[in-house]
Symmetry: C2
Subunit: 210 residues, 2 copies
């Protein structure tokens, strides 16, 4: 966490520093991001930086913290009561809110992607590996519930399916990023609807049962 000195700074200055930090981590993995550059661009002295943050890691953690906080705002209404709706409805909402987050905070998503991909960094183990299992834990719970409710076939491999749905979530967000800005919001939501249909009913031509 940044020092109290940092939080005493005028809001402008604070925002400028964080904004430049985000700009740095948005394009470069932790190790290639440069404190020197952030400092130079923000016009503050190197020594000042190290009075605001303990070290580079401290700044990075703080940025990730801001991202996670923001993301939780999107998810919390869902996660507060995940059992109140059907499995496919909850998954659909999760995916949609993920896309919404990505559209409204594209820089955050870029940082998160780089962060999650940078398994080489010692920060990866430290920050990701401990939080990611919870993510899949939620999916596993939802799947279990879905099976008990008779929404999902009984013979699915719960672990594997949880893994798969997690990745599908990333995949659909990536796809919308790849498509870029020239895709409308309702098209996006249609996309999620389609994905859920694939997941629920498959893409094969249904067998005719008489």
């Amino acid at each position: 966490m940044p020092t109290s000195t940092f939080f005493n700074l005028p809001l402008d200055k604070r925002n400028k520093i964080i904004d430049l930090a985000i700009g740095e981590f948005e394009h470069l993995p932790y190790d290639k991001a440069s404190v020197n550059r952030i400092v130079k661009e923000s016009g503050i002295a190197k020594g000042s930086f190290y009075q605001y943050f303990e070290d580079k890691k401290d700044l990075y953690r703080y940025v990730i913290h801001l991202i996670v906080e923001e993301k939780l705002k999107y998810l919390s209404p869902l996660l507060s009561d995940p059992d109140s709706h059907g499995f496919f409805a909850v998954i659909e909402e999760l995916f949609k809110s993920g896309i919404q987050f990505a559209r409204e905070h594209p820089r955050y998503v870029d940082i998160a992607r780089i962060h999650l991909a940078d398994t080489a960094s010692p920060l990866y183990r430290e920050m990701v590996k401990e939080h990611l299992p919870r993510n899949q834990e939620i999916f596993r719970h939802l799947i279990d519930l879905g099976i008990r409710r008779g929404e999902i076939r009984e013979d699915v491999d719960v672990d594997f399916l949880a893994h798969l749905i997690t990745d599908m979530n990333y995949s659909v967000v990536d796809y919308t990023k790849k498509m870029g800005g020239d895709i409308l919001d309702d098209q996006l939501m249609n996309l999620v609807g389609r994905l859920l249909k694939y997941l629920k009913e498959g893409i094969g031509v249904p067998r005719v049962t008489i």
Copy 2:
């Protein structure tokens, strides 16, 4: 490409250098991998290295080249005649051969994953972005064919589905890596079978049609 000097080297020495390079790129993205380390560990002089390779990029490209070459060995029987079997059969074989490759060359897969994740490196655009579209081109072709043959519903979004299946491929390989060595080959193949069943028929409980 390495120089002729490199290829004139005794095989032992050549293998040692490449092996250490693989060991380096296996854990670190391009920019963090160190020529100095490779040189030190392999016991050759720095100057010698630069008589074997034009620069660091040259070595990296060569390693990636070796990986792609090896991977093609697994895929070529499939890709030589992708239209001869049904859509789901071809996809199943593609996934299975991918898993097989990952099991037999885990280090290669690690390097490839790091390479594909390192979008910050200038090498990414240069090496990946030009080859990746072909990958999805193949899937798109297969899907088109599947629709025409009546194996796949007509109303699927071909682009999105191609994207999704590409990611599913990564996902299943990742899952097997996550499970580690304590998973048997036939279990793996069952896994792919299950995945394909999800894809084809969905995970929802089938509607009863009378």
